[in-house]
């Protein structure tokens, strides 16, 4: 049903239920807000987005008030602007206002609003409570002093991710965000997905900055620094340099990383192809030889792994033992590459550029992350940290020439690159599983039904006359639905609802990862994923098993998927990690 109303005297027609904030967008008015985020419920906390109905002194919150038939909305007049400014000044009176030293300097919604409103003085006494930062997770840093209590992180953590690590504590002026029970974030259910940091309007939650460690390693003559870039990074990093969203910058990134001083530049996409060889084979073995229970559940996402170990340990038996592409590339760099090049693995320093905060945790997750004999990945940086390094180095990223990656851990198939989007791992795995079961390749490579942003995607795929049922969930709150279906079937001895399940912790998959540039929305996720799918289409090889370098890797080094060497280097185990037991 359509609603007709006026905004600033301009006629608008919008669907019933559209908020005033959304409707204003249709007439080119961007009503400022510090708490509303398109991904989240309107918490109505900040009080900035107020507007008036003509003839009434009362002010409404545009973020959560639906436009009604015949409404005559005013989005700005001297009183509205003045009230907004006062509220903004009040927020700033409980904020450190030390922008120069802040992780969000120049990329902060509060700072931007203060600039827009021309705040030139502190009208009110600053009352900052002494709240110490919490960097216990080693992945994200919570700085409650900078928090403006917009509630986004709490909504993300509780509703989008169903993790419930963050909550509001205390009341009134003393209100603050913290893990429930005032414990450290590392002891809380936090799965380090970093979505809180990605949605925070200020610098209250930021990724732990490891760029200095990388600079130090690059300077160290005893270290042989190599680097890998994850699929989703290439379509997002450009946002920090004014590129249109979704622009694929793979080859510029290769050039860039070399100029930063890395001795070899690898692509995590290559390791994604290895993952498919291992995980695809694992799937086929479970499907045809009953070498393990079905459904098989993917494990590329460390936040999902952590979440499962904390909240769904009964699902461990279904988990693929295959490591994530980051770890596979790390271990291959320190074994295969080291042997080929004749370099002491202990000297190789592997840096990974990931769209993810949780990857910082994964590199030390368990003993198998040291399969090469030393830590397989030394430092994991987020896309945001990489963007900062580029700027620190003063490299004119936009005008860099294209370059190719280094051989042996290099070329990737189209199947490897789509790992960065939700449904991509499943699609890549099915392409190879089809080949293993049928002995020939799919004619139609694209699985359109597995793509897109629906929280849970279910599909049935015919392979060799066999119906393969798959499910894809992204955003951790969507996992429970899928897992409960499995549990239900198991309890009642029914046929399994799915053979294969892909889970990614972040909405949209890694393109929407917690370490990606700020300001993510579904529109952005689609565009970033679009960049990856375009890359897939542009690849001459679209099956992991057809990647010549993969063939070479198995021929020269690993022998066969799930072989002895693969098991040792490329597989891991899981264990229950109950929360709140300390």
């Amino acid at each position: 049903m359509l609603i007709r109303a006026k905004i600033n005297g301009i006629e608008v027609q919008v669907e019933k239920g559209t908020t005033i904030l959304e409707a204003a967008g249709t007439v080119q008015v961007k009503i400022p807000t510090l708490c509303k985020h398109p991904d989240l419920h309107a918490s109505a906390a900040c009080g900035i987005c107020i507007v008036k109905v003509r003839g009434s002194a009362k002010m409404l919150r545009a973020c959560c008030t639906p436009l009604e038939e015949g409404m005559d909305i005013i989005t700005h007049d001297p009183e509205i602007i003045s009230v907004r400014r006062t509220v903004l000044e009040l927020i700033l009176s409980k904020h450190p206002n030390d922008c120069l030293k802040c992780g969000r300097n120049n990329d902060c919604e509060l700072q931007k609003l203060a600039a827009d409103f021309g705040i030139r003085q502190e009208s009110f006494k600053n009352f900052l409570s002494p709240l110490p930062p919490d960097d216990s997770t080693g992945t994200i840093v919570l700085e409650p002093q900078k928090c403006i209590l917009c509630g986004r992180c709490v909504d993300v953590c509780q509703n989008m991710q169903n993790v419930w690590a963050l909550s509001f504590l205390e009341r009134g002026f003393e209100t603050r965000i913290s893990p429930a029970g005032d414990i450290k974030l590392a002891d809380s259910p936090c799965v380090r997905c970093g979505q809180c940091s990605n949605h925070c309007p200020t610098g209250a939650i930021v990724e732990k900055d490891d760029t200095n460690r990388v600079w130090a390693a690059l300077q160290d003559p005893d270290k042989y620094c190599v680097v890998q870039i994850a699929p989703a990074v290439r379509v997002a990093v450009g946002e920090a340099f004014g590129y249109p969203v979704g622009t694929n910058l793979t080859k510029k990134l290769y050039a860039l990383l070399r100029r930063l001083g890395f001795k070899a530049v690898f692509d995590t996409n290559f390791a994604a192809d290895v993952t498919i060889m291992e995980e695809g084979t694992e799937f086929v073995e479970r499907l045809t030889k009953q070498k393990g229970p079905l459904p098989l559940i993917t494990t590329c996402c460390p936040s999902w792994v952590d979440f499962m170990e904390k909240f769904h340990p009964d699902m461990i038996e279904y988990f693929s033992s295959c490591k994530s592409p980051q770890e596979i590339l790390g271990v291959l760099a320190k074994t295969y590459y080291a042997e080929m090049k004749g370099i002491d693995p202990a000297k190789i320093y592997v840096v990974s550029i990931m769209p993810c905060t949780s990857k910082k945790y994964e590199i030390k997750r368990c003993e198998e992350m040291f399969a090469s004999g030393c830590q397989d990945v030394d430092v994991s940086l987020t896309t945001r940290e990489l963007a900062r390094m580029i700027k620190q180095a003063g490299i004119d990223f936009v005008n860099l020439p294209d370059e190719d990656p280094d051989h042996i851990l290099r070329d990737y198939s189209g199947a490897g690159v789509i790992f960065g989007a939700t449904g991509g791992v499943m699609e890549a795995a099915l392409r190879t599983a089809y080949f293993v079961l049928n002995g020939k390749n799919l004619k139609k490579v694209d699985f359109e039904e597995l793509r897109g942003l629906n929280g849970v995607k279910e599909a049935e795929v015919q392979i060799d006359g066999k119906k393969i049922r798959v499910a894809i969930a992204h955003g951790l709150s969507n996992v429970e639905y899928v897992l409960n279906k499995v549990r239900e079937a198991k309890k009642n001895n029914l046929e399994i609802p799915y053979h294969f399940i892909e889970v990614m912790a972040c909405a949209g998959g890694c393109v929407g990862g917690g370490g990606q540039p700020y300001g993510v929305t579904d529109e952005l996720r689609k565009k970033r994923a679009g960049g990856l799918y375009q890359d897939d289409r542009d690849c001459s090889v679209r099956f992991s098993h057809e990647n010549p370098y993969i063939k070479k890797l198995y021929a020269e080094y690993l022998c066969k998927p799930l072989g002895e060497k693969s098991e040792h280097l490329l597989h891991t185990h899981y264990k229950a990690r109950p929360v709140y037991v300390k």
Partner: protein, 582 residues
């Protein structure tokens, strides 16, 4: 269910001869015994029946006949005429229009609140019987519409509309909630009703449930009211035993249950959306409306929330008819309102007055005038969300609209009378301090705005304020009024704004002259010794806790202002009024 039992109230309207009332009571009781009526009558000594200065009064319920100026010699005639028979004793009949009309408090102090029989004897549950034996829900709502009853919790929303909207909302279940989270400082209207007449509220809640089509009602009572909780619990149990609650009430198709939920002491949980969150087990913070609870309330089902006093009116309206109720009050505010009258007034306590009565009548006719006959300065109404009404507005008729025009609100019914010894800044500080303490902390304007305003007020009271602070106060107050999420924040600035409106001069004296004319603001006071009056007894010297009084018996004594902490001890202990305070 109905009994012929009569209740006879004996009261001393002079409020001065309680011992003689005891004798009067004894002879009344003896004569009833002599006439063999003791089983048909409950004799109650009432402290206040709303009539003053008319000797002993006798009130006979349920007929409501009132005799005043009754002597012991009249007792026999009264019993014969009105207890045994249905007549009256004309010469003793009280015919004046009473200043107080008791509808809400009709049974308080009259019946034994723990006895359902006594409630029934006063026509209790008659309204429930009436609707169940011949009124459909629409008819009940129509009756409420005729009555013009508006919510007594503060906002004054028409009760019938609330019920109508909830009735019309789609939902497989609906709920009614009695809001008994009374929390205004000094207000105890709801507590008195719950403790004195719990069944009237329960009956009102059942009728509300019937009208909107709910099968479940909750009594949300603050845990700090243990006696009220106990009595309500007992009353609910009795109602179940009598078939007035539960399945098929009074043999009809209507079934209704009531459960109690305890509030944990947050003032904001009296706000309906926060109250719902609290019952649902969530953090008690308001959420944006719409959707209103009548559409999506408790557990996302249509919910009507009514205040204790509102519900206590309902059985009366159903029994007597909405038209009769609407005869009381003003054009837009019908019925009576209970106020907790307190402050510098002779008779403090609960008063129930018809809407439209003036503040002067309440203070001087019912309250018995000012304590010590000091001049009245102002009346504060509406509790922490209300405002201060100056003496020149005392003749304004009390109703929702008028109080709002004066910058105050009806609120839940606190009424504090002030004389010249009350400092306006101090009053504003007290009420604002309450709201700051009770802010839930969710939205920025209330959370920070209140705190900043309080800080400014403290500065003014301590003599460090500037005239610029008054502008700041007004600016923040406007932001709080316009941009706070719930009524608590929107009205928290009222005490400051209304005092600034009527008493700005007093603020200016604090700021410019560093003087508090009421001698309340300690920092602005100076103590000195009036040498002419001083007898040099040294009592002040001995009592001064900081040894600020120096000198000796020969030279005399002096207060060292740099040491003085302005505790007022010297002023208190001096027997010769030799300490000056200014």
């Amino acid at each position: 269910m109905e009994t012929d039992r009569k209740i006879i109230l004996l009261a001393d309207t002079e409020q001065s001869q309680q011992d003689k009332l005891r004798d009067f009571y004894t002879s009344f009781a003896n004569q009833i015994k002599d006439k063999g009526l003791e089983d048909a009558v409950s004799l109650v000594r009432a402290s206040d029946i709303g009539i003053y200065g008319k000797g002993f009064a006798v009130k006979i319920l349920p007929r409501g006949i009132v005799y005043t100026g009754v002597k012991e010699s009249d007792i026999g005639a009264i019993i014969d005429a009105s207890v045994k028979g249905q007549g009256t004793v004309e010469r003793l009949l009280f015919s004046e229009e009473p200043k107080q009309i008791r509808i809400v408090l009709r049974n308080c102090g009259v019946i034994d609140p723990e006895s359902i029989d006594e409630y029934i004897a006063c026509r209790g549950y008659g309204a429930l019987k009436k609707i169940l034996s011949g009124m459909n829900p629409a008819g009940v709502i129509e009756e409420m519409k005729k009555s013009g009853l508006r919510g007594r919790g503060g906002a004054g929303y028409p009760t019938w509309m609330k019920w109508k909207f909830t009735r019309e909302s789609q939902g497989d279940r609906k709920y009614v909630i009695c809001n008994a989270d009374e929390g205004d400082p000094g207000a105890y209207m709801d507590r008195s009703v719950l403790e004195g007449d719990p069944h009237s509220v329960i009956e009102g809640l059942i009728i509300a449930g019937y009208a909107i089509g709910a099968g479940m009602g909750y009594m949300y009572i603050r845990a700090e009211y243990p006696l009220a909780v106990e009595r309500v619990k007992k009353a609910i149990g009795q109602a179940y035993e009598c078939g007035l609650l539960g399945k098929n009430i009074l043999g009809t198709d209507f079934s209704f249950d009531i459960d109690i939920r305890l509030g944990a002491g947050a003032f904001v949980c009296g706000e309906e959306t926060a109250l719902i969150a609290s019952i649902e087990g969530k953090r008690g913070t308001p959420r944006p409306r719409p959707p209103y609870p009548s559409v999506s309330g408790l557990w996302c089902k249509p919910t009507a929330i009514n205040n204790v006093e509102t519900l206590a009116n309902v059985p009366y309206i159903i029994m007597e008819g909405g038209d009769k109720f609407a005869l009381i009050g003003t054009e837009k505010s019908k019925g009576t309102k209970v106020f907790a009258l307190t402050g510098k007034v002779r008779n403090s306590g609960l008063v129930e007055v018809p809407m439209g009565i003036t503040l002067r009548e309440i203070v001087f006719d019912i309250g018995g005038g000012m304590l010590g006959d000091k001049p009245i300065k102002a009346v504060q109404t509406g509790g922490p969300s209300g405002g201060v009404i100056p003496v020149d507005q005392l003749d304004t008729p009390v109703d929702y609209e008028n109080l709002q025009k004066l910058g105050s609100i009806m609120g839940s019914g606190g009424m504090i009378v002030m004389d010249e010894s009350d400092c306006i800044v101090d009053i504003a500080k007290f009420y604002l301090g309450f709201c700051v303490e009770e802010s839930c902390g969710k939205c920025a304007p209330c959370r920070i705005g209140g705190y900043q305003m309080l800080n400014l007020l403290n500065g003014i009271a301590e003599g460090s304020g500037s005239l610029e602070d008054l502008d700041k106060l007004r600016r923040v107050a406007l932001a709080m009024q316009r941009a706070s999420l719930c009524a608590l924040g929107q009205t928290a600035a009222n005490p400051v704004m209304s005092t600034l409106r009527y008493f700005e001069q007093e603020y200016r004296e604090h700021i410019v002259n560093r003087k508090c004319r009421s001698h309340k603001c300690r920092s602005l006071m100076t103590y000195s010794i009036i040498q002419d009056k001083c007898k040099r007894c040294r009592v002040c010297v001995i009592n001064c806790p900081v040894n600020a009084i120096e000198g000796d018996r020969e030279k005399g004594f002096f207060i060292d202002v740099s040491k003085c902490v302005k505790c007022g001890k010297c002023f208190e202990v001096c027997k010769f009024q030799a300490i000056a305070k200014e």
